[in-house]
Structure formats: structure tokens, C-alpha cells
Amino acid sequence: MESTIIIEKSVIIIAVFALTMLMAMYSTLAERKIAAWLQDRVGPNRAGKGGILQPLADGLKLFSKEEFLPNTPNKFLFVIGPAISMSMALITSAVIPWGDKLHLFGRDIILQATDIDVAMLFIFGVLSVSVYGIMIGGWASNNKFSLMSAMRAGSQMISYEVAMGLAIIALVMMSGTLSLREIAAQQSGMNWNIFYQPLGFLIFLVCSFAETNRTPFDLAECEAELIGGYHTEYSSMKMGFYLFAEYASMFISSTIIAVLYFGAYNYPGMDWAVENWGVNIANVIGMVVLFAKICFFIFFYMWIRWTIPRFRYDQLMNLGWKMLIPLAIVNIVITGAVILLFQ
């Protein structure tokens, strides 16, 4: 392998990793601030100017707590649960197209850590494995409440994965490829997929709320009902990993929604920008546009959290199996019929 390729990929990988961590860290601050503003109060504003250093203070607090292992026979599983959650949340950021390409040092650098042909399948596979993080954490805690919450979370996540997959099938039928890079490239200009798949977008959005265990689907960790849920017995950095993994997966879900339905790095006028201002500047603007979309979706996640009350467990299962899956199937049928008509 050429050393230039190694250097290039290493730089991209490190940049993507650092970016994910940074965004997840500041999502914790954004969550508290937005929650406060939506409730007519001011969030944390003492650490640093306007509360900017608050995530560092939180991290420091979590580091300085006592590392605690409960009296469980599964010590290895107890330690590995948060590790699985965290790594699955971070792995998906490898296949996301952050921009088209940059033309530096005489070469075209593709702004994606890996460009695999089955990127969508990869993401779904990783999402399915991330259920393990919660289930293992709940089981290894040796605690009835943690187990119950882990069971509920596990069943919720697998039910909504089905509807998510079905919603994506319609999209894949339309674009003809599973590669995220191709899907992003097909949405150039204003040709975003949301205009062609509004129902699919809605289903995907609801399912991604359920996948990240985010209100209104957050029975797994609702403080009022199950004390801490699956992370009751965790303290210090393991707890930090679970909480951080939730924010990282929220960031990744927002990114995937933006890439699949909202045209990733495309903005109206990108072709004009490529011709007049050069590839580099057009793609930097594309990256900024992608971030704006991601930030909007993260804000949307938080906005919904503080608006809607929590689902009851049977209502949640009802919604997943009896309403979303038929709707997703209807979506596929309609998409298929339209594609056939326009062929």
C-alpha cells in the first residue's frame, strides 16, 4: 500500500473520530441548554462563558467517581457492556460520506473513511449488534430492575429495526444501490430523497427515535419507573460510556437521516459552485451544509424529547408491529408501482 493512502486514510479516520466525540460531547451540553430554553429557564451557564466548558466538567466528575463492581458472577460481561455500546455507536461513522472529494496535493481525496458497496447493510448490522450492549449491561448487573429494563429495551429495538429495514428497502429500490456514497451523489442539487419518499422518511424517523432509546421511546432508562434502568449499577466511566454512547448514536442517526433523505452534502447551486469556485471550496461548503442538517436533526431529537410524553410498553409494541410495518410495506408497494409506471 502506498504510504500516501495510509496517511490520507489515517487523517480522515482520526478527524472523523474526533468529530464524533466532539459532537457527542457538545450534544450533552446542547441537550441541557435546549431543555432549559424550552422550559423557560436558563441551562448551565457557570462553567466557562455561557456554559461552554460544562461537558469537560461533567467528564471530570464522572472520572472522579468510585469504580464499582456489583456482586455479580459476570464480571467480564459487566465491563464489556458499555464497551459494546460505545464501539457500535462509533463504528457507523466510518461509512458516512462527509463530502464529495477534495483536490489536495494533486490527488482527489474522497471524504469518507471507507467506501464499501454495502454500506447500508453494514449500518443495519451494527445497529443490530448495539442491542447487545444494553442487554448485556442489564443482565450482568444482577438486578431485577436492570434486567426488566434491558428486556424492554431489547424488544423495543428489535421491533423497530424491522420497520426501519422495510422503510429503507423502498429507498434502495429507488436508488438501486446500497452504497451511501452513491445515494448521496444521486441527490445532487435539490434532488433530495425526501421529496420522493416522504412516508419512508417519516417511518425511518420514528424508528430511529426508537433505536437510540430516545423519548418518547425511552422506557429503558426512564428514571421515574425503573430507577436507572439498565445503567443503575454502573458508575464512573462505564456509566459515562453508556450516556456518551446514547449521544453518539443520536449524532450518527441524525447523520444517517441527513445522508439518506436530505441530500447529505448537496445544496442547491453546488454544481455552479464547483465550476466557479473550485472543487475544494464547494466541498467545504458541502460539509458545512451537512453539519447544519445534522445539527437541525439533533435539535429535533431534543425538541421532541421535551414535547411528547413517554409511550406505554404495549402502545410502543402496537405502534412498531401493527402500524409501522404495514405502513412500510404499503410504502414499498407504492414505490414499486411508481417505478414500474415510470420505466
Partner: protein, 162 residues
């Protein structure tokens, strides 16, 4: 409930509009300590041992405040006034040591009602007792409780002017 209603989409959208309106309203938080909230005229804060028009301490260490305190927070030691201290104290008996244990005090104001000399007031200082990490630091002596001399002179000048 119709099928479309049971999708809850319209209801969710209405809820989102309500929430987003709150994002743009004025926040009700008071940012302490840069902003302080206003106290009513009868707010009971830290005690203040008053002085009279001529700057002499009013308290005569009679002990009625200590007797009436339901939390037994006040202790004092009386002494006789020396001839050279006539400008400091009103009557021949005064309190040389006067201590209130702020951790025991419940700020009820019964000492204020019981005092025959109108020497102790809770409603004048409008100061909240500050937090601390030592138990001993909460026993306030005369240095913290007596009205500052400048304030008494200010009051006297105001009274003379009006």
C-alpha cells in the same frame, strides 16, 4: 379515533408548535448572584442589633429574646457599663457577649417580638445568611450582628434632615 388521528401526527405537530414558542419567550430565571430577587418589606433575614439616635447600642442583655427563642439559638453574657463607656451603651447593663447560632435559628421573629427595647430586628438587614463549611463559623457574635455605626449616623442625619 380515525386511522389518521391514531397516527398522532397532527397532535404531535401541535405540541411541537407550543414547545417552540416557549423557546422564544423570556426566561424566568434570576441569575444569582449577579441578579438578586426583591425582598418584601417584612422579609426576615439576618438579625441586626440596633443602635439608637445617638449611636448607643440598645440591647440591655435582659434575656427575653433567648427565653422566647423556640430553637434556643441565642446566648448572652451581661456586664455593667463603666463610666467611660456612657456613649456606647444606653443603660447600665449591656451584653458583652451576644451570640446567635445561625444553624439553630429558624428565623421565626419571636425574638423581635419579645424584645422590650426594640433592639433586635430580623426585618432590617435583608441579608441572607451565607453558606459555610464549618459548624463553628455559624455562631455569629456581636461583630456580625450589631448595626454598623455608619448606618446609625446615616439614620440620625436622615431623621434630623426630615
Amino acid at each position: 379515533m380515525t386511522f389518521w388521528e391514531s397516527l398522532y401526527l397532527v397532535a404531535i405537530a401541535k405540541g411541537l408548535v407550543i414547545t417552540i414558542r416557549h423557546l422564544f419567550k423570556r426566561k424566568v430565571t434570576i441569575k444569582y448572584p449577579e441578579q438578586k430577587r426583591e425582598f418584601s418589606p417584612v422579609y426576615r433575614g439576618q438579625h441586626m442589633l440596633m443602635r439608637d439616635d445617638e449611636g448607643r447600642e440598645r440591647c440591655t442583655a435582659c434575656g427575653l429574646c433567648a427565653l422566647s427563642c423556640p430553637a434556643e439559638a441565642i446566648t448572652m453574657k451581661a456586664e455593667e457599663r463603666k463610666p467611660e463607656e456612657k456613649h456606647l451603651y444606653r443603660e447600665e447593663k449591656y451584653a458583652s457577649i451576644y451570640e446567635i447560632n445561625m444553624l439553630r435559628c429558624i428565623f421565626c421573629g419571636l425574638c423581635e417580638e419579645a424584645c422590650p427595647k426594640q433592639a433586635i430586628y430580623l426585618t432590617k438587614s435583608k441579608v441572607i445568611v451565607k453558606s459555610n463549611s464549618n459548624r463553628e463559623d455559624f455562631i455569629y457574635g456581636k461583630d456580625k450582628l450589631v448595626m454598623p455605626l455608619e448606618m446609625a449616623i446615616q439614620n440620625t442625619n436622615q431623621n434630623k434632615a426630615s
